[in-house]
Subunit: 435 residues, 2 copies
Amino acid sequence: MVQSQQKLDRVLVRVEELTPEKADQLIWVRARIHTSRAKGKQCFVVLRQQQFNVQALVAVGDRASKQMVKFAANITKESIVDVEAVVRTVEQKIESCSQQDVELHIERIFVISQAEPRLPLQLEDAVRPEGEGDEEARATVNQDTKLDNRVIDLRTTTSQAIFRLQSGVCQLFRDTLIKKGFVEIQTPKIISAASEGGANVFTVSYFKTSAYLAQSPQLYKQMCICADFDKVFCVGPAEGWKAPHCFYADTQNSFQTEIQTVNKQYPSEPFKFLEPTLRLEYTEGVAMLRAAGVEMGDEEDLSTPNEKLLGRLVKEKYDTDFYVLDKYPLAVRPFYTMPDPSNPKYSNSYDMFMRGEEILSGAQRVHDAQLLTERALHHSIDLEKIKAYIDSFRYGAPPHAGGGIGLERVTMLYLGLHNVRQTSMFPRDPKRLTP
Amino acid sequence: MVQSQQKLDRVLVRVEELTPEKADQLIWVRARIHTSRAKGKQCFVVLRQQQFNVQALVAVGDRASKQMVKFAANITKESIVDVEAVVRTVEQKIESCSQQDVELHIERIFVISQAEPRLPLQLEDAVRPEGEGDEEARATVNQDTKLDNRVIDLRTTTSQAIFRLQSGVCQLFRDTLIKKGFVEIQTPKIISAASEGGANVFTVSYFKTSAYLAQSPQLYKQMCICADFDKVFCVGPAEGWKAPHCFYADTQNSFQTEIQTVNKQYPSEPFKFLEPTLRLEYTEGVAMLRAAGVEMGDEEDLSTPNEKLLGRLVKEKYDTDFYVLDKYPLAVRPFYTMPDPSNPKYSNSYDMFMRGEEILSGAQRVHDAQLLTERALHHSIDLEKIKAYIDSFRYGAPPHAGGGIGLERVTMLYLGLHNVRQTSMFPRDPKRLTP
């Protein structure tokens, strides 16, 4: 076991750096045994490091004994090994590996961490495109088995690509906001009253009293505006920022490999968008739905199926996967939404959609304590529970607007996936609390 | 009330941009009334925007009537106003304002959001250095009043500086880590079992069952290492990242103004550090404490007073406010800490200290399922509760190390403050759940 007793002067080369420029060099690599296949006096292994892999070979000869070939052949899949090997160029490209132009001729091999012989799922099954399983009698892995064994499922090239892309998207949002002068804030996760109401409020035992889990940083972001921070954002498990909409092109350039990797398992149409972004009013959306046969009232909210249908209608008419639906009916929005001054049935609020699903909800917020009180009472909210919030607007409050965007939903919809559990590292739902 | 009915073509100039280059221009500014003083036919107001302020003047004459001067004089402090004014250079610097070389001659003034006349605290009292209050019979504001009225307290130049610095520190950490190839992850906040034990575990009602609030992302960060993410970090309310230690110089250059602003209210010695960072072994620390008269055992943990004392001794001897104490006794560290292979009483773990207080705790983590099981049993941890965690190490686990750093503590200690509530935007403690 590696306990860092002494410092070895092994320089570990990364698998992605194994290219013909390293030909004939003797190098060390730490990687997983992805697959292993013994064949007479030789053993072929594929060494994997994240999304990269390389073919390696132990052959009986000057540097390796029969025992060593046998030893290598017996190392369990997914074990981590340190390998000393010579890099050799190959005549025919190795199509099955990311490093196609070289292979490793192993001289020494050490097991750093041995995997148990029975894996709960096979990585090659977990990345197989849906549908392929049945046709060719090859296995696929269902979503629950994947999530039960998430630590192994996350090792697949698809998962690696999804979460590297997600980290990149997060960073692009943040960089954009910081450049625009936004201040990143940390908001409390435990609050004294379930201020926004709703059915799924989580109660927390808190020392000698009880409290609630904050469902959203929304009210605190507004309080920071009242506290003169001017432009704020925060990143949390549920929702995030004001939304810039200039990240698509950047993402497509910076994460081409990741997008392609995910598409191999989950094929989807490339994400289309217009510049400037298409903006429709709510009434236009309702008219399009009615023309398609949907019956709905003027002030009725969009159901999820109607959102998806509208997404398809918009795609047909405007050829975009991204649009903004503006001026929602006041009745279907939270109490802190600013009414439309020219038509009291509507509001200064909007949703953004990707591939027919909402990714961001935003609005001008009420910044007047009296109107806010009226709106809260209209929504039957207990004023005592939101006292600190409403008081924030009593001592001069800048007019402001904002929104919350779901990072995991953006990643899912951008990649054309269909289940947010795929873009949530350790997802939670009413039935799942582990791993 | 601003309800965004139409788009005004006012270009709002920022207060910090009001310099002699804008002399004689007619401009619009949206700012707060910081102070206001009527004097005969004139009214002097100071307009404030975050940490910047400028003097402005309404005087009876061509552009302003007597009524307007009276109107301006009656606007309550902290109200937000839109002002149309001519920028004029001044002969004598205005020492009391951040914009010292110009003043505004107001032609029109609109109240955008009116503050209630009685403020719960005065900003000038809230920024007064401790101690000054008594001597000159001027008020200071105690910590609880500040926190009860946090939205107003956060408007002071000191608070603005603290949280802008904190946002910057957070971004510097993150940029450094992203450049080094780290992946940002989001870890679950609700978990099925209180895996790390301890007294202050928060129970959450979760649909038809109960669950716990995750106290730290520690175990999930390790699971991501087992899932091949190689280097990961996450930012959360309690703790964060692996720690680079190269941000001090950057911080001192980029946030000079913020540091000076905070020092005006809370004077402190400049933060000193050595390059390379001083590293002491735990046994050396104990020896220094014993030489100073402290009685303690070899395997005893450092109490907070002893940590502070050691910080002073280290400062005296080495002239640094930052050092690493390495090789803690195994007995005082969590079960997942790697034992020191050369001395089983100690461990491959360390703390980092700033001004004698711990800011980061880190270690090589056990990556072997069997040793981890033994260590958990030794700590009387229910194996059933950490099954998913331990199982993560059964299928090949890379040797790894990591740590968690407290952003709010770093900000506090770097600035030489003495209470973490000052660097926490909406602090929580057993008695405080609001605002």
